[in-house]
Every structure is written in structure tokens, then in C-alpha cells.
Amino acid sequence: MLEALQYDFMINALLAGLLASIACGIVGVYVVTKRIVFISGGIAHASFGGIGLGYFVGISPVIGAMIFSVASALGIGLVSRRTRLPEDTVIGILWATGMALGIVFIGLTPGYAPDLFSYLFGNILTVPRSDLILMAALDAVIVITVIALYKEFLAISFDEEFSTVTGIPVEALYLLLLSMIALTVVVLLRVVGIILVIALLTIPAALARQFTSSLRTMMLLAILFGAILTFGGLWVSYLLDLASGATIILLSGIAMLIIIGVSRLRRRVQAPAKETT
């Protein structure tokens, strides 16, 4: 691994992993605690339409993905709040429509779509410097927003109805939260790809939840776990010559299983001890 660090692409890969961990650690905590995993999946997949559009009109597919993911986040949020359509129906429709649009756009684009596979499944080893700068900028937006609106996001995640009564602009903040998920999807795009984004949005936060009952600590732990898992996955994929995005996700899944198993075991050991007290 150490000799790999002399390559620029390896340094870029580590930076990308770190930037991805910050976004997915912070936003993932809201996704997990507010139980909006399915919405996040919808936003991620709908962004494929933007990747297709990017190829078709000749702009960066990442910028296209950003436009589509934010638009679909706002769309899911508004339609599910203001109409009587069930939220999961709206998500399902946008999920598939976004992907279909992407496929049509790519089909209309003359010639071959380079890197298509890496947008779907990620390739942390090929993240260009320009994307790193974009990722860092989006991270900054996410961090500043969450610091500024920490108490509001906590309130609407815990109890929307009370938040409305107490005067918090719940709908606007909910749409902002969904937009931050959209930005996180863009940050994670190059690392794990849109198909696998959902794992990094949920696993580090779910792992962190096993260790703390404070939202703030959970975010910091989730960033740490995200970094360990992306670096670890990158290392394993380098050693075994496997696809990096998929390796990161598999490692995360294994970590989750181990933590759940250990905490179950611990509970079983503690339970009889409790009865005697």
C-alpha cells in the first residue's frame, strides 16, 4: 500500500474517499434517523438522467447529475407533501423515469459513452482533480448548512408536527435536507457510483448509531467509519485487483454484520447478569 502512495491517482483516491466520508457521514445520519433511505435511493437513481443529459449536450456528466438529483429531490419532496400520492409511489416513479431518461439520452448521443460504467458503479482510482474540487465545495456547503441549522434539522427529524407548531419552516427545511442528500449523491458518484451510493449513505451512519445516542457524535463517528471503510475497501481492491466501489460496499456490509453480531452477543451475555441485580 505504501508504495502505492507515490502515485498521484492514489493520493487523489484517498482524498476522494475522505471527502465522500464527510458528506455521507453527516447526511447519512439524517437519512438513517429520519428513515428516508428509500427517498435517497430514488434521488440517486434519478440522477442517472442527468449523467445521460451531460453526455448528450456535451457538459460534464457530474454537473448533469447534480442538476437532476437536486431537481428530483425537490420533486419528490413537493409532490409527496402537496398531493395525495403516497410518497413511495412518487419515489418509485421518479427512480425509474430518471434512469430511463439517462438511457435514452445516452442512446441519442453519437458514438461511445466513456466512463459510463464508473458513474454507475464508481471508480475511486480515476477521480479527476476537477471533481475533487467540486466534491470539496459541496462538502463545504453541507457542513456549513448543518452547522447553521443543526437545531432545526434535529427538530424536524425527531418530530415534524411539533416543529410545525413551534414555528419551524418544516417544508422548506425538509426540501433543503433532501437537496443535501442530492449533493451527497454527487459527492459519492465518483467513489461508489449511483447504484451503490445508498450503501455509503446508510452503513457508516447505522454503524455509528450502535455506539452513541447523540446525533452530533453519531455524525463524527459516521465520518470516521466512512473513511475507514473507503480506505480499507480501496486497499483490499488494490491487493486483490477488484472493482474499488464494489469492494468498499462489500467491506461495509461485512463490517455491519460483524457489529450487529457482536452487539447481539454482548446483549446475550449481559442479560443474565442484569437479572441478578
Binding site: 434517523t33 428513515r35 395525495r84 447553521a148 441549522l149 437545531k151 432545526e152 434535529l154 427538530a155 427529524s157 425527531f158 418530530d159 408536527e161 411539533f162 416543529s163 410545525t164 407548531v165 413551534t166 414555528g167 419551524i168 419552516p169 448509531r209 452513541t212 445516542s213 447523540s214 446525533l215 453519531m218
Partner: protein
Amino acid sequence: MSQELVRLKDIWVHYNGVTALEGVSLTVDQGDFLGIIGPNGGGKTTLLKLILGLVNPSHGTVSVLGKAPEQSRKDIGYVPQHNLFDRSFPISVGETVIMGRYGRTGLFRRYRREDRVRAEAALQTVGLLEHRDRQIGKLSGGEQQRVLIARALATEPKLLLLDEPTASVDSTAQTEFYELLEELKQRIAIIMVSHDIGAISIYVNKIACLNRQLVYHGSKEITAEVLEATYKCPVQLIAHGTVPHRVLKEH
């Protein structure tokens, strides 16, 4: 003359083609402790949501503290059913209670020292100050209910709205809970919604029976006929003497 806090005038509410409330008129004055009883689905929660401005009537007018309900929310302490939220949510008792201070703080601003003092005072009132750093799900059902009351009290309300506060709370905790309300009603008007007829009428000084229509509204001497009309079946009738006791109606 005591100040009028809530006035509902000929309210009709329809949800997806189903009528939830039919021609309900009701007033609540300062110093009132109004108990609203009625069967599940009788529109009790809808009535509370009208007062909070969370539900709009299809006909009729709602005024709270002389204003539209949305504009008076700051002065209302709302205690939702405690079993509706996610117990495992990573939030402490103190963080939950200080949410009640939002109306006096505002967007982007941090909670100030005064907010923390008020939140702690509210926790002290419900007797849970020593639990402020615990995760909310680690408390018993009755304690969680009291945390939600503390959150409502932290808003410094003129009116407290309680939705089924004794649901899934054991009987010892219920007694403590009613003693707390007894203390609070000296300084805050209270509207409490419940299907628990027995407990409610010992403590309230006004009662309303709601089953889509307001069957009865007034002082707390209800007759068996009124209860039957509300619940559409014979029920226990509570008589009030020096010692509260129940009279079982034959059926």
C-alpha cells in the same frame, strides 16, 4: 370577566370525503381545564389540530387568543401522543425539551442561556431534571409523556393541549401525571383529549363529549344519556362526591 382563549364556531371538517367534525362550537376561557372525551375516530385529535392550525375547517371559524390559530401557536403548548415518535431516535431528554424554545429563538440562532434555564425549569416541574442527559427511549412511557409536557411548558404557553396523555401509561404513573396537571391548571388553561372517561372527569372542571358532533359541553356533571349518545353504548358513569367514585349502570 375571564379572557376567552379559544373560540370554535360551527366547525365542519372533511378528510378525503369523510366528515370528521360536524357543526362543532366550543369556547375555552382562561382558567379552564377542559376534558374532551369520545370514542376513537370521533374527531378528538382533529379538534386539537384545528386549534393548532394544522387542520383547516371546510366551514366555520377558529380563533385562538383572538387571532388565527397559526399566529397564536407561540402561546400554545402542544403535547402529542407520546407513542407516535421513534423511541430509538438519538436525542436526549434535554435536547427534546429545549425544542420547545424554538418559537422564542428563531431560525439560525443558537439557544441562549435563558432558553436553557427555561428548559431546565420545565424539566424540574415534571420531576425529570436528573434525567436530562439520557436518551429519550431509555425512559418509561410515563416519563416520556412528562418529557413531552416539559417541552410544551418550555414554550411558556397560555394554553396546554394534551392528546391522549394517559394512553400506554401504567396506573401509578397516571396518578402522578394527574397530580402534575392539578398543579399546572392553576396557571395555564388546559384542553385534554382522552377516551379514558374515569380519570378525566375527576380532575377537569369542564367536559365535552365529542363524536363528530359535540354531544355535550359544559360543567362536568354528565348524565348517562349523554355518555350513551357519545359512545353509542352503555358506559360507566362517574359520580362526584367528596370521594370520587363510579356508579355502574345496569346493562
